[in-house]
Point group: D2
Chain length 371, copies 4
């Protein structure tokens, strides 16, 4: 199937461009009988939407979702769920210049040579705006996983540019525009962003995502390991340059005697695995981290060439996100939810329905989740 569909059984097919009339998704394979309304979806969309603080793009989009199909009298019918979000704040008058140039770090160059030309309006299909339908689709997955397994998702910023953001408490995440699980570091982050904006520059971010109450047994050997499909989904988010599961790159310098998570009758003693063993969920908390590169659209002039290969200087004007990572947390959660949902269905196809298989030992040990 083509590149705009995610998943094998719970599939999300998106369409739309940044400055076209609308964006949206078709969600197929949703189990029937689940209550669903626009309100269930809107909450997550609102967490992602632009313009919520001065640190992100000032584009004004309500991101109001319309369910076009797949729901009857408030319940999913098993038919595909059409989701539509109209674009309202397109400003595409003056892209003519952009069409002739390649902005360093942007998709321009690759799109141009792949397709022969490109839609330059706000990045077209390569815009981060296209994560909105993904977040909308994932809200459906989250609801089902919550109802069936009690699965819960949360994400938070682990690092903003050079500043590490220590995890204090989950409750802080919703209290600030950075999705920081930390109540004291916000002024420092705000100062950092203001300085960046003044310098006409941008920075990257590290986002952490977690899922708890994940059923044991999700993921398929060999190629479609749960972590492999998570890596695929995460690396599919705009600007992501790295993905880690559990100890990630730290495991390179760990000894085996340290890395392997001991098992005790009351659960795993640690979580270096990040919740997967042999590519299959172990019931422990799933732990994923992603690296997001600094925004390419900056006010600082950069060397580039035009489509004829002639040297030019490129400098972004107008609104932009100095750190796309700030709004990435709900997107990363969404991707994780979509992968789990797809694998929950794949698992019950092959192995039958299970309501969170509970082994003689609990999957997690008190206090083992945050080592």
């Amino acid at each position: 199937m083509s590149g705009n569909t995610l998943g094998l059984l719970f599939t999300v097919t998106t369409f739309g461009e940044s400055h076209g009339p609308a964006i949206g998704a078709v969600v197929d394979g949703c189990p029937p009988g689940m209550t669903l309304s626009e309100a269930d979806i809107q909450a997550d969309l609102d967490r992602r939407k632009p313009g919520t603080s001065r640190h992100v793009t000032q584009r004004k989009e309500e991101d109001k979702v319309e369910i076009l199909s797949g729901v009857f009298e408030g319940k999913t019918t098993g038919a595909p769920i059409g989701l539509l979000i109209r674009n309202t704040d397109q400003r595409s008058q003056d892209y003519g210049d952009i069409l002739q140039t390649f902005r360093p770090g942007h998709a321009d160059y690759a799109y141009h040579y792949k397709y022969g030309f490109r839609d330059p309006r706000g990045g077209g299909r390569s815009s981060a705006r296209l994560t909105a339908p993904v977040v909308a689709a994932a809200a459906i997955a989250k609801k089902w996983l919550k109802e069936h397994y009690g699965t819960e998702f949360y994400g938070y910023m682990g690092q903003l540019g050079e500043i590490e953001v220590p995890f204090q408490d989950k409750k802080h995440i919703a209290e600030n525009p950075f999705f920081a699980a930390n109540s004291e570091i916000i002024p420092q982050l705000e100062g950092y962003m203001d300085e960046l904006r003044k310098a006409g520059d941008s920075c990257g971010a590290r986002i952490e995502v977690r899922a708890s109450n994940v059923p044991i047994g999700l993921g398929e050997p060999l190629f479609d390991k749960l972590d492999a499909d998570i890596a695929h989904a995460m690396m599919g988010i705009n600007a992501v340059k790295g993905v880690e599961i559990g100890a990630g790159f730290k495991s390179v310098s760990q000894r085996g005697s340290v890395h392997g998570d001991d098992l005790h009758p009351d659960g795993f003693a640690s979580n270096n695995s990040g919740g997967t063993l042999g590519g299959i969920s172990s019931g422990q908390e799933l732990r994923v981290a992603i690296a997001i590169k600094p925004t390419s659209s900056i006010m600082t002039p950069k060397h580039s060439v035009d489509i004829k290969g002639q040297p030019i200087t490129v400098q972004t004007k107008g609104r932009h996100d100095p750190c796309v990572g700030i709004r990435a947390t709900p997107i990363a959660e969404a991707m994780l939810a979509l992968v789990l949902m797809d694998h929950a269905l794949r698992h019950r196809a092959q192995c039958g329905d299970v309501e969170l298989a509970v082994p003689p030992i609990p999957a997690s040990r008190p206090g083992s989740q945050l080592d």
Copy 2:
């Protein structure tokens, strides 16, 4: 399609277990008319095979591949290519004990609860032995990519446990059992491995993979970005816990003014992107890094439980790899080749045949590849 098939158009479906009668793969979608013989495949298999140095598993396997189909008078016909490798050194007499226990860090626990029971002989399906058919299949992809685009692959060890392995020269890679691109560090690596083995412990590794002469335009928005499919393939390799493209996690603390690779009439000035822009190959060298966790089978006793949840102590006896990362380089190359091959076919399906589209500017600038 189920989890044992990789790719959409150039598909590799593997089968087999560590200690079953045979392992193998069916490679479908190969373009017709390419000369192919067992010899083309055997070379890569030999680079991966066990028992080549004292630092890896001492299992004796010839890994001799037989082509069962898809080739007529030395040429691929377009029909699926069946590849068969007989297992010869199975020692599965005494697995009874293993069946009752979960080895920390192993797939045992997850397989047991997913499938209800498991094949314990040498790890069954979760054994790293199953990378052999992948390497065999990828040899076909490499050959085609080389003939069509001049694409070349190489990988090397970037770090062994705590020891960084500086890149000196590609030519050294084949001169030592570590795939180190460095001629001086070998004694240090050997000493480190000997010490680990004495300590009954294991370590992780960081592997770097590169592809040059990659056509511009490979990769599909949105979900099947080239880097997304690379991440999927790499995370599907046993023991991989992290994947990076280009600057990877370093991009978190980079400024946009630094990260974005400038373009000049003679090529890109740097390669922080790792060869993809917007998920599409830019023609620059592809750069991927993976983190491999330390081997779970160690001589050091670990706490665990048996399948009834009772506490036990687990200690591996007999042959094992103290660092599975040592043999991972050809496997990582193989995965990269399979992803590129699949996307080369996907690209020409949608956009027509191209023989390495050459833009007015060359994709790489003299000296820009190793910054």
Copy 3:
């Protein structure tokens, strides 16, 4: 991928229900650079739309399509093409009764037991209205195939109930509401339909579809033969109960000496194969026939049961098609076009781009097409 997507590379994912707010499709994998506007699509939609004669459903739908994405400055960009058709004539007030009963021959019974309940409004997802997005999507495929290979499609009614409709001339097809390639039989067909309507009954139809200038080489052994994928697509149309390629069921009683189409330097002498050999297009005219069952919604009372299994009598009131086959011709053409388009892309993925491979002998011989 789930059941609402057709195709591997040129994929059509539809959504919507008969009486929901909208129906539509996402068309992914379209080659870039083709001029496309709503007008290109509307023509085929208009041929399919209801209410065009007194012999079909009187539902009033404009079936006006909106392109939501994938086109920039009048050209396809390679991004997914979102197509939206708003429903305007929904009359869903009084379905309460239908929800409790199973109409004989309808999907009610199967949907109810598959999903646990169903959307009863106008048949919900099982309505023939859902062929509109398919026709819209196929208009894109037809345009591309025409431009690249000169491929042309036409279909016609071969039989209406008990009345065979002899083929006279292609030009007549557009001159009557039955898609009959015959100018003299129309009064007889009209009389037959009027009589049926008076009797409160319905009838089936046999539709013939043809494609000419089909490139040689489309179709993939083993399972995805061109004819296999055509059969899949055709049998996916509502009410279709049979599919034939070429001589079809007549080939059962043919001798091999008669059935096998002789080859001469000026082309094939006959076309019993229907344009495929070994599941691959031979360049001859593609010939497909489908059987459409009589409409299940009839004014004649039928025995049935309610959802509790109690006996009831079911009798349709209000508007309905006495022969859904009358409007099926453009739908069958659409399905054929989608399959050819998908296989055209699949072929050039594996075998490279070909502009209608021309063998030393022409694929068709003068006069051989209509034997």
Copy 4:
């Protein structure tokens, strides 16, 4: 996925050529825990194998299957099941001549122009020999369906050339080499075949296939209707030119008042639908018919051309099947079983596990199956 894989969740990937070293299949997605041995598979293979009567090809093949993987201690593990059948009776010495010519009705012409050349040995990939791995794979599906739902399959010859073969009793099918459910017609069929062989000609056949105890609810709207996937699978069998479900082409001339199967508290009153409603199984007996064309390899000379387009005469020498339809019954059963198995898993993925959902009314009424 490429064309040599059937199914979405229960996937069968075949490889091999008629005269290569081996043929085989990888069966992926099989539920774990089912007992399975070669003996379970061999029985169906033996029903299909050549050389069992004087009316079929005299090629001597034992068709002995080896299970290479996916089974541990006699039970399926959930890992892919590798199946291998060595070819033993290849006679490929003198194909040189065939390579230069196109045999009318054969795949030669299409393969040649698709791939640029072809494997001529016994038809290569296009040989009916490749149905052996399909039959082997389907034996696994049949076993699982039988154990879970009590599903049973049988097929029989409905017509041989011009001779209709009336259905008398299922028990006769295994008593004659024609799979005729009729004990009296056998001498007539044998005489017909002897005459054909003397005439150097061949004939077609009509095969009927049935499945009973099919769970309600299998099949997916819109495109992957159960009947659509059945049509795809059946048309994928060599030499099949037509597929019917239930009343098939007879439904064209049926009135709606006759065609629609009445429902009564004790079941359906008839079975014109053939066991599907809206593309979803209704629990009634599944009824499929296929048309098989006469064998193309005949002793009668036919006009053709060589690969340079020059006129030639083609005449088959040596062993051949004068009616490939004679051995097609177990193949058609196999295809039906594979489709049902795949949809059984797809259904429980989306809708949860069901052990043959039993509605308040039974799916079939006493005596309704053979109307």
